[in-house]
């Protein structure tokens, strides 16, 4: 069964693979590009950069987003920065080192060839963004500034205040807007993809040829045809209800193509970000991230003595009342070499460990301190403000506490999903003509993503990888005429969608979509969260079965399907989140090891570190849909490490 998955990795030495590929790939000539249509779903860093670049090349692009403008995609919320192996700081960085840090940070569960290519094109991204007018932070001499992020010993992170994602996205959005004005890209705002349309070619192979989408303003179901479909819809972290994702971020496009034959890879790998503002109450709608960049200068601690922690929780003691020698800077203690800048999974688990042991500092006991007093003493308040001012302001607006005066309280939260749609080296899924880019695919981060690497991957895929690799596919398609949306394949897919919507509208039960989504979130956090066991995952599967039944028999959606209907939009997404939850639990249960964002409590070292099992689990676990009531089938892509030596990750020395 393993033979099904051919990653199509080019031959040659690691550093030559991408060059070899580009030298030998097939291209499409300019006259033919105009005759080829490409649908791009999503306008985040990956989607917008891909749509713009494909438009520039001369393809006819149809780009879709669910928001009121492509500029709203959730990439905009990324704060800290973007990695690139520029070595502008002369601190020993190189393409190989960025590659190595990413492979190691991913706990040796990513594909070497993809990660090397990512590191290679990272340098082009910074050049491109600067040329677009992205106002990156600069030194007094006029050159670009850098800072450090977790899992690296060099400063390779480029940033624009605490708004790097915003500035990069606006750069991509401006390139996209330019193509829209030129007519190479047609933009569909407030449109949500509801399914992919496959049409068999003359050999009987089904190929991606279009989509069915819902106009979110009118409720109309519309058909769109193309020669290829690109999914750039981000991750599925909102399966947990509470996450740092935007309210409308969802995994539905991924589920739709999974049900049509794309494989869902490594669903269990979810990243829990260590520095988020803790949960305050039952009606909380989302969790706000405090950038990892804060760990450059902030020190994380909890009280050394349990009685101090208890007094703080009871409101009888303030952090200032705890003397230096009674503070436990547990990351600096456990990981002297990387200190507060250990990777996210390591920092999150360490926070959970301290809080579970009774040292948490908020009333709920689920928080640790992130303290800037030492940095303010060393650098002055002004410098700290220049570096993190907008983050401090955001923290104060939400919590009503001033982080210049008292330490921030933080706790881990779901942030990013490394798992996603399986793609080969060309970023194509197992459905010919259907591609997945950015967070939506599984390809580059293994079991854990390093900070400032999501922006890098999104833009690498969209600007510099897909515009090449998609041509290798489309070069065969130049004789294929445009498709009519009157074809029976479109009618059938649309009919199935309409039936699904009707079924949902007619449940007419007693529960709101949100109430079921929140219950799903509780199950996911409790049983498929930061620490998982065989038993917790089995419990999750039982509970997910029950919640699926509850959803399809007791949800209530007011209003009409053929009009603007936000409850219906949410319901369609929650139905898919339940499916994703099941995939995550199944995958977690299959993987009897701990690695990166997947921590099985049964598998840890005596010091509490993740214990991998390379002999048995050095593969990407890819799940193939086998029908609504059947379990999906596991297909493996074996991971081979030719150029790196696998070891237990060591951030101690």
């Amino acid at each position: 069964m393993d033979t099904k998955l051919d990653a199509k990795i080019p031959a040659g030495a690691l550093a030559e693979k991408w060059t070899n590929y580009k030298d030998r790939q097939k291209l499409v000539n300019p006259a033919n590009k105009r005759r080829l249509d490409i649908i791009v779903i999503g306008t985040g860093l990956a989607g917008a950069s891909a749509a713009a670049s494909l438009g520039e090349l001369g393809f006819n692009v149809l780009n879709f987003c669910i928001q009121d403008s492509p500029r709203r995609a959730h990439s905009i919320a990324a704060q800290g920065g973007i990695n690139a192996a520029k070595n502008y700081q002369n601190d020993g960085d190189s393409v190989y080192r960025l590659f190595y840090d990413t492979i190691k940070g991913g706990d040796y569960r990513a594909r070497e060839a993809n990660v090397y290519r990512l590191a290679e094109v990272s340098v082009n991204i910074i050049d491109q963004c600067v040329a677009q007018g992205v106002p990156f932070a600069r030194e007094y001499g006029g050159l670009l500034d850098n800072r450090s992020f977790g899992g690296a010993q060099v400063s390779r992170t480029f940033y624009a205040k605490g708004q790097t994602g915003q500035q990069l996205l606006l750069g991509a959005y401006s390139a996209l807007s330019r193509q829209i004005s030129k007519g190479t890209v047609k933009m569909y705002n407030r449109h949500e993809m509801l399914d992919i349309v496959l049409i068999k070619d003359e050999n009987g192979t089904p190929r991606a040829r279009g989509i069915i989408a819902r106009n979110l303003v009118t409720g109309e179901i519309e058909r769109f045809a193309a020669h290829a479909v690109v999914i750039a819809t981000g991750g599925y972290g909102n399966a947990y209800f509470l996450s740092t994702n935007a309210m409308n971020s969802n995994g539905s496009a991924a589920v739709q193509i999974y049900k049509k034959g794309a494989l869902f890879a490594n669903p269990a790998y979810a990243q829990i970000h260590p520095t988020c503002i803790p949960v305050h109450g039952e009606f909380q709608s989302k969790l706000t991230l405090m950038s990892e960049s804060l760990r450059n200068d902030g020190r994380i601690w909890v009280p050394k003595k349990k009685e101090d922690a208890e007094a703080i929780r009871a409101g009888k003691l303030t952090p200032a009342g705890i003397k230096e020698e009674n503070r436990d800077y547990y990351l600096e203690r456990r990981y002297p070499a990387f200190g507060n800048l250990v990777p996210r999974d390591v920092a999150s688990r360490a926070a959970k460990e301290r809080c579970d042991a009774g040292f948490g500092v908020s009333p709920s006991g689920l928080a640790v301190y992130l303290d800037f007093s030492e940095a303010i003493n060393r650098l002055g308040e002004k410098t700290v403000e220049a570096r993190y001012g907008n983050l401090f302001q955001m923290y104060e607006k939400i919590t009503d506490q001033n982080p210049y005066k008292t330490p921030m309280m933080i706790y881990p939260a779901i942030h990013y999903t490394m798992g996603g749609i399986w793609v080969d080296y060309e970023l194509m899924t197992t459905i010919p003509g259907c591609f997945a880019i950015g967070e939506a695919n599984f390809s580059d981060h293994g079991a854990n993503r390093l900070g400032a690497s999501a922006l890098m991957q999104g833009l690498a895929d969209g600007y510099f990888v897909l515009p090449y690799t998609i041509q290798n596919y489309l070069s065969d398609q130049i004789r294929v005429p445009r498709f009519s949306t009157d074809l029976p394949e479109f009618a059938e897919t649309e009919k199935a969608i309409k039936e699904k919507i009707n079924e949902l509208m007619n449940v007419k039960g007693k529960r709101s979509v949100d109430s079921i989504h929140k219950e799903l979130g509780h199950i996911m956090w409790e049983y498929v969260g930061m620490g998982r066991t065989k038993q917790s995952l089995e419990t999750a599967l039982e509970k997910l079965k029950a919640i699926k039944k509850e959803f399809w028999s007791n949800v209530f959606i007011p209003g009409e399907a053929a009009a603007l209907n936000i409850e219906l939009e949410k319901a369609l997404r929650v139905a898919d989140f339940i499916e994703i939850g099941r995939l995550m639990a199944l995958d977690g249960l299959n993987r009897n090891e701990s690695c990166g964002g997947h921590f099985r409590e049964e598998y840890q070292t005596p010091e509490g570190e993740a214990l991998r099992d390379d002999d048995n689990y050095s593969y990407a676990s890819c799940w193939e849909y086998k029908g609504e009531d059947a379990d999906p089938e596991l297909v493996r892509e074996d991971l081979t490490y030719e150029f790196t030596h696998r070891a237990q990750r060591n951030y101690k020395s």
Binding site: E56, S69, G142, T288, P558, E567
Partner: protein, 251 residues
């Protein structure tokens, strides 16, 4: 200690762009001060859905003040009474027990209401499409450090680039002008050497598009600057006027 309040909401309801709208009044009890304004609306909507009614439609997405999707004219202020934040960052601790809170959509000829509190801001996309970019294709650009830019200029460009495109400036302006929005983009790109080359054409094209789409004129009332959640300065408008004048003179 945690503040708990009871409030009365007067919310604008409107079925569609052409439908006649009206205010509807709701009472909400036991709202915690730590609840965000949009979470308060979530609570209201949950209640409405449980009563079998249609929820209030409002735009929102990131809920951390950066995507620009949320709007709302609250008690006569775009994004509510607090300064330098968006509606999603506004918390109920800014209101008192017994308050009546009036919530309306952005009101501007260029932003038609879609439903209830949701408006169509497609006009902003169109203005950017008219010239809010540097005309470079992907690839073939110089090394990022090839053009040094003074920290002062880079920081000024960053300040202008902070605009989130929410439309509060238009909603705040008695003329419904989009000058702050347009000037922020024009300034960001005119300040940087990469964008300077097309600065005049850009200013002209974006202003022409703005006029065409039905936005009003700027009469220097500064309400836009007051209400901007990102503190974008009206000095950008002065810069836009200079660029625009240069373009006109060159013609």
């Amino acid at each position: 200690m945690e503040k708990i309040i009871n409030i009365t909401l007067k919310i604008w309801r409107q079925k569609g762009p052409k439908a006649k709208g009206n205010f509807e009044t709701f009472k909400l009890d036991g709202i915690s001060g730590d609840t965000s304004f949009l979470e308060m609306l979530d609570i209201l909507n949950e209640k409405l859905v449980n009563e079998g009614k249609e929820p209030v439609a409002f735009d929102n997405d990131c809920r951390e003040g950066i995507c620009g999707m949320c709007s709302l004219y609250i008690n006569g202020h775009p994004h509510g009474p607090d300064n330098l934040i968006t509606t999603c960052q506004l918390h109920m601790r800014h209101f008192n027990d017994g308050d009546t809170v009036t919530v309306e959509p952005w009101r501007s000829a260029a932003f038609p209401v879609i439903r209830d509190l949701m408006v169509d801001r497609y006009a902003f996309d169109k203005i950017i499409q008219a010239g809010g970019y540097v005309s470079v294709n992907t690839g073939g650009v110089p090394d990022a450090n090839a053009i040094p830019i003074s920290k002062k200029i880079a920081d000024e460009a960053m300040d202008a680039a902070s605009c989130i495109g929410c439309g509060a400036c238009v909603a705040a302006c008695k003329n419904g002008s989009a000058m702050l929005f347009v000037s922020a983009k024009v300034s960001q790109l005119a300040l940087l050497p990469q964008g300077k080359i097309e600065a005049k054409e850009r200013a002209e094209a974006m202003v022409a598009k703005m006029d065409e789409l039905g936005f009003g004129n700027c009469t220097n009332t500064r309400a836009c600057e007051q209400e901007c959640p990102k503190g974008v300065s009206i000095s950008n408008i002065a810069r836009l006027n200079r660029e625009f004048l240069k373009a006109k003179l060159a013609n």
